[in-house]
Amino acid sequence: MALLSLEQVTRSVLLPDGERLEILRGVDLTVEAGDHLSIVGRSGSGKSTLLNLLGLLDTPTSGRIAFDDRPLERLAGGRRDRTRGRDVGFVFQQFNLLPGRTALENAMTPLLYARGRDFWRRERIATQMLQRVGLGDRLHSTPDRLSGGEQQRVAIARALVRGPRLILADEPTGALDVDTGAAVMSLLDEISSASGAALITITHDPAIAAMARRRFRLEAGVLEPIVAAS
């Protein structure tokens, strides 16, 4: 059973002049549990739009998206939000940590939307996750006191605290130097592999994309697999 599947997905928007702009054209993609795939594409190729659809943040103009074999249209409103909170973890290019909150508070944020045991044990879970990404000694540091690499590790911890089945990393190394970026990607890959979560990395960096087992290129709204030269 596929974790996430896209069949002939299109997404278009109506421009102010009445013209329709096709952003995604007939995208087919199947993501299994534990997959690690990357999507590369230039600016304006539709990466963000695809990310919205993969992260259950948007609905396609046509085609079918299913999460856990459940069609997206059956996940209306709050159910989709709750599914996203429970099963999808986001890592953003600009880290997007909440300012003024400590690393621990940031990592706890998704657990505020959990129920039952996870909600009540949120501090413990977040602490353990931060220790796992090597920030056990920076729990109470606010983002302005953390380096770029540390901030991204907090963001990774935050993405993983609810044990998501799908991790979406949007240009996760875009704001980091090469070495830190590589370290962060290794960490992301290691943790997602250990937890059995699927990892989708959206990037314009071929080196980062190369770390994935399956690679795709998005160009002019069309998603195509990249076949290895060897």
């Binding site: 963000s48 990310l51 919205n52 992260g55 943040l57 948007d58 409103g77 709050g78 939000d81 709750r82 996203r84 909170g85 429970r86 986001f90 953003f92 997007n96 909440l98 300012p99 003024g100 909150r101 508070e105 944020t109 998704p110 505020l112 939307y113 959990a114 909600f119 935050r158 609810r162």
Partner: protein
């Protein structure tokens, strides 16, 4: 809900300086609102006490001097006194007594002067909330004094040279014959009472005044409020029956509750409440303004929360609660400020000098203040909450 509260509290904590600054207006408005209600309660109590000093505490029944319908002659005082005692005994009325007004003269150092003399029973003190500035009110013991005990007004006492009551100062009262009275207590200054005034017990008046000088006695009864109507009719019927046919007997309520007049402080209170409401509305407007600006600045944060599973209602609730929580804190501060102001001696002395009963800060003032603060928070949070719900998640994150 708990999660939303935690979120709202965290937001409040992180932005406490901004939130507190924006809430000063709300806190002041709530303090004004609760203060007006609180001062209103104190002023009402003062007014009530003043009214009770005049007409007696609720329910005070008064038997006006009965008279013969044909001749207009008053009933025989001795017979009336006997009937009064019967009534008091039958209905076990603890606080009751005759009140007789008389005019007498008191010898001062600079000559004798006319003084309004009121003969009362010891029960008159608690029935009319009589305040004593120095000395004491009458006791049953005073009825057996050979020299009548007197409680005099502050003006009389001053004119006598403000003698020390511990020395049992005496004064000559001119009635049927010059009589020496002993001053046992002094009343505080009262702008509503005649300045040269004195109280004496009924037995004492008999010693001072000639029967012709004294007005016919009125009898007062302090009875439970719920029995007032029944007792009013029964006392009237009993006195009429005892006096026999031909006498006009009238028993009336004379306490303020029977007057049915509207609260004279009401217009002032309405105006003050209006002003407080206006301040509150202005505070709310500035709060909405700040909250709207803040929400626009927080679009990214709201997007992040949505990405991590916050539903639209949850975001709405969190932004709303944040506003309510903040105004509630402002409300608590405002109510505390109002309590401090209303309970201060200076304000009490200014609003209600001579207040006898302690008036606690009215619970309804605190409740009104907190409810108003919460309502302002909810109203001020509504628009930002609606804006927050409309945030497009990915656009917000990339904002």
């Amino acid at each position: 809900m708990i999660g939303a509260l935690i979120e709202a509290w965290a937001e409040f904590r992180v932005h406490r300086a901004r939130v507190l600054m924006s809430l000063i207006g709300v806190a002041i408005a709530v303090a004004a609102l609760a203060g007006v209600v609180g001062i209103g309660a104190v002023a009402t109590q003062a007014q009530t006490e003043q009214l009770e000093r005049g007409g007696g505490r609720p329910a005070t029944l008064v038997l006006t001097p009965p008279y013969d319908a044909e001749t207009g002659d008053a009933a025989d005082p001795a017979r009336l006194e006997a009937i009064f005692r019967q009534v008091v005994e039958r209905y076990s009325i603890t606080y009751a007594g005759a009140v007789i007004w008389s005019d007498s003269r008191i010898q001062f150092a600079d000559g004798a002067d006319s003084v309004m003399l009121t003969a009362v029973a010891p029960a008159y003190g608690p029935m009319h909330r009589v305040e004593i500035a120095t000395g004491r009110w009458f006791t049953a013991f005073d009825e057996s004094r050979l020299s009548p005990a007197l409680v005099v007004s502050e003006a009389v006492w001053q004119r006598l040279g403000a003698p020390d009551l511990a020395t049992n100062p005496t004064v000559t009262v001119y009635g049927a014959q010059p009589t020496t009275g002993v001053i046992v207590g002094v009343l505080p200054p009262d702008p509503f009472a005649p300045s040269l005034q004195a109280y004496v017990l009924g037995a004492g008046l008999a010693a001072i005044a000639a029967p012709a000088q004294a007005a016919a006695p009125m009898y007062e009864f302090w009875v439970p409020l719920e029995l007032a109507d029944t007792l009013q009719e029964r006392i009237r019927a009993e006195v009429a029956s005892a006096l026999g046919e031909g006498f006009v007997v009238d028993v009336q309520r004379q306490d303020y509750l029977a007057w049915g007049t509207s609260d004279p402080l009401e217009p002032i209170r309405v105006v003050l409440l209006g002003i407080a409401g206006l301040i509150l509305a202005l505070g709310a407007l500035s709060l909405v303004n700040i909250a709207l600006v803040t929400v626009r600045q927080r679009v990214r944060e709201i997007g992040i929360r949505r990405a991590f599973g916050a539903t639209a209602p949850r975001v709405f609730l969190a932004v709303m609660l944040e506003s309510v929580l903040a105004t509630l804190v402002a409300g608590v501060l405002g109510v505390v400020l109002a309590i401090v102001v209303v309970q201060s001696e200076w304000v009490r002395g200014f609003v209600a000098p001579g207040l006898q009963d302690a008036v606690p800060f009215p619970a309804e003032a605190a409740v009104i203040g907190l409810v108003a603060a919460t309502a302002v928070g909810a109203l001020a949070g509504l628009l930002p909450a609606l804006v927050a719900v409309r945030v497009k998640v990915i656009d917000a994150i990339r904002y």
